[in-house]
Structure formats: structure tokens, C-alpha cells
């Protein structure tokens, strides 16, 4: 059993309490107009009034999650560049895509009061089936993502030596307390809470990474030595597979895996409900465009954080669970704890743990909005008032978090990781319906639905068939050969290609058959509308005119 580091633990707890207070205070932040926080625009989108700065912090905290901070360096430590460092090109090519697509989504959503991507698809194609497909995909893909944020908190607690109690309740009690507090302030303050907390979290995480990347390489013999150590460790042949564990520079055989992972993940990220929630909460069409140029700073930080995985190899960091088994996901928290004074390690670990709270809050809000708008309202209560919608959404956000908690406590962590892997493949299949719709009505709604179904089925089967090289378990990874070839690529990309082929072919056929195209509520001018244009103002007319921050 590990000793508990009292100082570091105290710092983490103090930070947690501070963030909890902020979370509740956020409800009063630039108050919620005459309806209070009793509409989805207010509770679920923070009043749609976030300016450039807050949006930068909110999206930064939303996209670069605690799990990313834990899993990327862990992958570098365990298998090297292909499964870890692709996160850098992924979060680089992401932003041109965001720049291109998200301003149009912002405009059309603000003209029509859309809160979710499924709202948009419904308005564009007039197809309840397609709307439902997009909404359910979003919810299902988000749930395990929330669960993984808990895994992030758990790794911090484990390294601190917390949770070694004999019974499961004591073991998971700190996690349960953290999540109950999170659920409570998300319920009262909505999106304002993570927006405010994100500022604290990001300042702490930048501080921690900056200090680590300046100080640690020198301490362990410089980058030359660190990469030398990484080459030795990753090049060592694994007894179970007869192959090296990984590589520092990917070989020619994994080139296609590397870039398809980066591209597929980049295309998928802004299809996730929590990313879209962050975009729609911004106050103008240009806020998101400006942020596309400013958010890459986070990618630089992520790159350095990834390299800490190699630093840990040179430092001889031992990422051990409380029972002594090796868990790569503990490597970065352990590195901080081993090499910094307790108080500073506490700040870094606290930043990672708080980093889990921001995306978890936004994700649960986004999933709740999808449920409320596209399942509760569209199917059961077409005449739900804004007040009822907000009420349902708040309750569902609690249910979603509770579900994630049960997921992590009751099931194996690998279940959450497998689901997250599948979620990434699935969410990309909503891309054609959402993105093509931003530019053209050429695609037929049933063709898009068929393409979605084909992509989901292929992706699921392909991911299931990947066997872990050591344990032979299913869902062993997200890379598989393109059928009929030897080229190893990200499964989501093949599923996506299949999706588009099906959608194009069926659209051609359905157009010849003159199948009913469905009603389009949107107009051309909607896609270029900005904050002060007619009708955009109407959506937010009861809200405070003063911008937040």
C-alpha cells in the first residue's frame, strides 16, 4: 500500500472546494434575464452570450479533457508515437475544419433557435428518423466519454494513495463525492459553471505543463537522452507478441494509420454534442472563427504533455496501481508527484482532476439537451414550453452523470474505453447529415439515413473484430486493414467512406424515383446571419444585452 501524500492531497482538496464554490456562484454570473435559468438558451447555452475569451477557455477546457491529459502521455509511454502523438496533427488539422464549418452552423442555429445538431438536421431535412439517429448517436457516444473523465479523476486519486480502503464504498467514496458536487452545480448553474471553472483549470494546467517542460528534460539528461531511453524501451521485444512494443518514429507500415487517425478524429470532434454546445454558446458568428485561430495554443500544450510520456521513461517513473499492477494511465500524475515538491504536484494533479469536471459538465449538459429537444420534445411533448424543456434537461443531466458513475464503478475500466473507441467511430457517421446539410440540400434524407446505418454497422463489426495482440480480447484497437487490402487505417475513416458512397448512390436513385424530399425550414440567408441581423436578435431578445466577459 502506498503512503498518502498529505500536502499534495490537501492542495487538490482545496482546489476542488474552490472550484465547487465557483460552480455554484456561476449561476449568478451576469444573471439570466427575466426567465432566470429556466430556458435551454440560458441553462444549456449560458445565454448564448460568451465572447471570445470565455469561448476560448470554455472550448479549451471542453476539447482537451482530463482523459486526454492522462491517456495521450500514457500511450506515448506504453507504445510510442502512433497511438499517442497523432493527437498533435489531429488537434492541428481540426481548426481549419472548425473555421470552415462552425460559423455556418452558428448562423443557422441562431436564426432558428437550434440547441443541438439534431435540431438542425430536423429543420433542414424534415425527417424525424434522421433527427433521432443523430440525437441517439450523440447521446450514446457522449456517455462513455463522461465515464472516461471519471477515469481521469481516479488516476489522480490513485497516485495520491487515496482509495485503498477495503470495501468498494470507501474505495470509490472520493469519486462519488466529487461527482455529486459536480452534478449539483451543473444542475443549478448550467453551462455557466464549466465556463467559469475552465478559466481556473486552464491557468493551472498551462502553469503545470510549462514548468514541467522547462525543468524536467534538463533533470533527466536532455531530450537526446530522453529519446534514447524511449527508443530502448519501445524497441524491446514483447514476449507475448514477438514484436516491439512500439516505436519513436513510425515505420512506413503505420503511415496510413497515423494520418487517418488524425484526420478521422479531427472530423469527428465537432460532431460531438459537447463541442457543438460550446460553439452555440458563443455570442457571434466570428467568435468561433477567431477562436479557430487561437485555440491551437492548447495543441502545443498537448504536444508537450505527450512528450512527458517519454520523459517519464527516462525518469524511470513506475505507474503502479495501489495493488501493484502497472497502469500506464498513472504515468503523468506519478511523474509530477515523484519529481516536484508536494505542493506543486498538488497543483498539477488538481489541474488534471478539475480538467475532468469541465468537460464532464458540458458533456452532460449537451447530452441532456439532445434528449430534451430531440426525444422528449420531438416525440413526446411537441408543445413543451421553454421552462419545461429546461426542467427536463436539468434532470436528465443528473441521470447522465449518475449513469457514467455507475459505468465506472460497476464495470471494468476497459468497458468505458471500448465504448469510447466505438463512440468515435459512430459519431463520425453523423458528419454527412450535419455537414452536407450546411452547404447543400442535394442529399436525400433517406439516403443520409442509410449511409449512417451502413457506417455504424461496418464500424461496429470492424472494431469488434480487432483483437488485442496480447490478451486476444475484442475491441483491441481502432486500426484495421481496408477490406481487401493490407493498408492499416482508422476504422472510422473506412466507415465514413462507405457512409458517403451509400448516401450518394441512394440520393441519385431516390431523386430518379422522386421520393418526397422533406420540408426545409432554413433559408439561404440563414447560413450567413450574424448576431445583429434580423431574427437572430429575436432568439435572445429577453436576454441581457451586456456580453459576458
Amino acid at each position: 500500500m502506498k503512503p498518502v501524500d498529505g500536502v499534495a492531497l490537501t492542495v487538490v482538496v482545496v482546489l476542488f472546494v474552490l472550484v465547487g464554490v465557483l460552480g455554484f456562484y456561476a449561476a449568478r454570473w451576469r444573471g439570466g434575464g427575466k426567465e432566470g435559468l429556466h430556458t435551454l438558451d440560458e441553462w444549456g447555452l449560458g445565454g448564448r452570450k460568451f465572447g471570445s475569451w470565455i469561448t476560448w477557455f470554455l472550448l479549451g477546457g471542453d476539447l482537451y479533457t482530463a482523459y486526454t491529459f492522462v491517456a495521450v502521455p500514457a500511450a506515448m509511454w506504453a507504445t510510442g508515437a502512433v497511438s499517442g502523438f497523432f493527437a498533435v496533427p489531429y488537434t492541428v488539422v481540426l481548426y481549419p475544419i472548425v473555421f470552415l464549418l462552425m460559423s455556418r452552423l452558428w448562423s443557422v442555429s441562431h436564426r432558428h433557435g437550434f440547441v443541438t445538431t439534431a435540431d438542425f438536421v430536423g429543420g433542414r431535412y424534415g425527417s424525424r428518423t434522421l433527427t433521432l439517429a443523430v440525437a441517439v448517436t450523440g447521446i450514446v457516444a457522449t456517455m462513455p466519454y463522461i465515464a472516461l473523465q471519471l477515469v481521469g479523476i481516479k488516476s489522480v486519486l490513485t497516485v495520491l494513495g487515496v482509495g485503498s480502503g477495503e470495501n468498494w464504498l470507501l474505495n470509490d467514496l472520493p469519486l462519488i463525492i466529487a461527482f455529486v458536487v459536480l452534478a449539483a452545480y451543473t444542475y443549478t448553474s448550467g453551462l455557466r459553471a464549466p465556463a467559469m471553472i475552465a478559466v481556473v483549470k486552464d491557468v493551472l494546467i498551462y502553469l503545470a505543463v510549462l514548468v514541467a517542460i522547462i525543468y524536467l528534460p534538463g533533470k533527466f539528461g536532455g531530450w537526446d537522452h530522453i529519446f534514447g531511453a524511449a527508443e530502448v524501451k519501445l524497441g524491446a521485444v514483447n514476449a507475448a507478441t514477438g514484436k516491439p512494443a512500439g516505436s519513436v518514429i513510425p515505420g512506413a507500415a503505420s503511415f496510413s494509420a497515423y494520418w487517418t487517425l488524425a484526420l478521422g478524429s479531427a472530423l469527428a470532434l465537432f460532431m460531438y454534442p459537447h463541442s457543438v454546445t460550446g460553439v452555440l454558446a458563443s455570442k457571434s458568428r466570428n467568435t468561433i472563427r477567431k477562436n479557430a485561430a487561437l485555440l491551437p495554443l492548447y495543441s502545443l500544450m498537448l504536444g508537450f504533455l505527450a512528450l512527458l510520456g517519454y520523459v517519464a521513461i527516462a525518469a524511470g517513473t513506475k505507474p503502479k496501481e495501489l495493488n501493484g499492477t502497472i497502469n500506464p494511465q498513472l504515468v503523468v500524475p506519478q511523474l509530477f508527484l515523484d519529481n516536484f515538491p508536494s505542493w506543486f504536484a498538488g497543483i498539477a494533479l488538481g489541474a488534471i482532476a478539475i480538467g475532468a469536471l469541465v468537460p464532464a459538465a458540458i458533456m452532460s449538459i449537451a447530452a441532456a439537451n439532445l434528449f430534451t429537444r430531440n426525444i422528449y420534445r420531438d416525440i413526446f411533448r411537441p408543445n413543451a414550453s421553454p421552462r419545461q424543456e429546461a426542467k427536463v434537461s436539468k434532470l436528465v443531466s443528473l441521470a447522465v452523470k449518475f449513469g457514467a458513475l455507475v459505468f465506472v464503478i460497476a464495470m471494468d475500466q476497459s468497458a468505458a474505453i471500448n465504448m469510447q473507441l466505438l463512440g468515435g467511430i459512430w459519431i463520425l457517421q453523423t458528419f454527412p447529415a450535419i455537414v452536407a446539410g450546411l452547404y447543400t440540400r442535394w442529399f436525400h434524407r433517406w439516403a443520409l439515413f442509410a449511409g449512417w446505418a451502413a457506417g455504424i454497422i461496418y464500424g461496429t463489426v470492424a472494431a469488434y473484430s480487432v483483437l488485442n495482440p496480447v490478451t486476444k480480447a475484442h475491441f483491441g484497437g481502432s486500426i484495421a486493414a481496408i477490406p481487401g487490402t493490407n493498408v492499416q487505417v482508422y476504422i472510422a475513416i473506412v466507415a465514413f467512406a462507405l457512409n458517403i458512397v451509400v448516401a450518394v448512390l441512394l440520393t441519385l436513385i431516390l431523386r430518379v424515383l422522386k421520393a418526397p424530399a422533406g420540408r426545409d425550414l432554413t433559408r439561404n440567408s440563414d447560413y450567413g446571419a450574424d448576431e445583429n441581423d434580423p431574427k437572430v436578435r429575436k432568439v435572445a431578445q429577453d436576454l441581457p444585452t451586456e456580453p459576458i466577459a
Binding site: 496533427p89 492541428v92 433559408r523
Partner: protein
């Protein structure tokens, strides 16, 4: 909301000039394609401060992408302003001239209370 007939579409922007869109499209394409050309950078030399080429090259694309997108942002927001201006002052002679107020609000409609006041009654 009336469900039978949509109201006529009132454009909020004038016609686009292709120039800024083509240039931005090109810059964005560069920003997507180059970081993904793995064979170009999957090697360890030349090193930079001990970092293999593979690593520093990819991280170098972070600021490059930010700069490219920054240029696109400048181009697009200028073109966007021009297109909105045309609707307000349909006279082609003055349309290209944003006027001192618009230049002052240069970094975006983020601070847009002034353009809102201007747009109030004149949008159509």
C-alpha cells in the same frame, strides 16, 4: 410559427467576391494537408534541441496553422463586412469603403454593438 408558407428570404449579405474565398480555401487546404503528409516527416534528423524532426516538425505546424487561420479570419471578416455594407449602402461607389467606424471595430463583430446600432432600421 406559421407552418404553411415560409416568409420570403431576405438576404443579410450582398453577393460574394470569389477572391477572398478562394485564397482562404487554399490556405485552409494547406493547413489540413501538410500536417498529414507523414512520409514527409517520419524521420529523426535534423534534430532540434535534441527533439527528432518527427516531433518538432509536427509541433511547428501548430503556430503555422494558427497563422494561416488568422489570415483567413482577417480576409473573411473583411469580406463579410463588405457584403453586409453593400446591402446597407447599395451604391457601388461607397460599398468598398468601410468607413472609419468599421475599421475601428476591426477585430471582429465580437464587439459589435456599434454595427448593431447602424443596422437597426437599415437592414432592408
Amino acid at each position: 410559427m406559421a407552418s404553411t408558407q415560409l416568409p420570403p428570404d431576405i438576404p443579410t449579405r450582398g453577393p460574394a467576391k470569389p477572391g477572398p474565398y478562394v485564397i482562404s480555401g487554399l490556405l485552409l487546404a494547406i493547413a489540413v494537408v501538410f500536417p498529414l503528409l507523414v512520409p514527409m516527416y517520419a524521420r529523426s534528423t535534423p534534430r532540434l534541441g535534441g527533439l527528432p524532426f518527427f516531433y518538432w516538425y509536427q509541433m511547428l505546424w501548430v503556430p503555422i496553422d494558427a497563422a494561416l487561420i488568422g489570415v483567413c479570419y482577417a480576409l473573411m471578416s473583411r469580406e463579410d463586412r463588405r457584403r453586409r455594407q453593400i446591402l446597407r449602402h447599395p451604391d457601388p461607389g461607397t460599398s468598398d469603403d468601410g468607413g472609419p467606424r468599421d475599421n475601428a471595430a476591426d477585430d471582429g463583430s465580437d464587439s459589435g454593438s456599434d454595427s448593431g446600432a447602424a443596422e437597426g432600421g437599415e437592414a432592408r
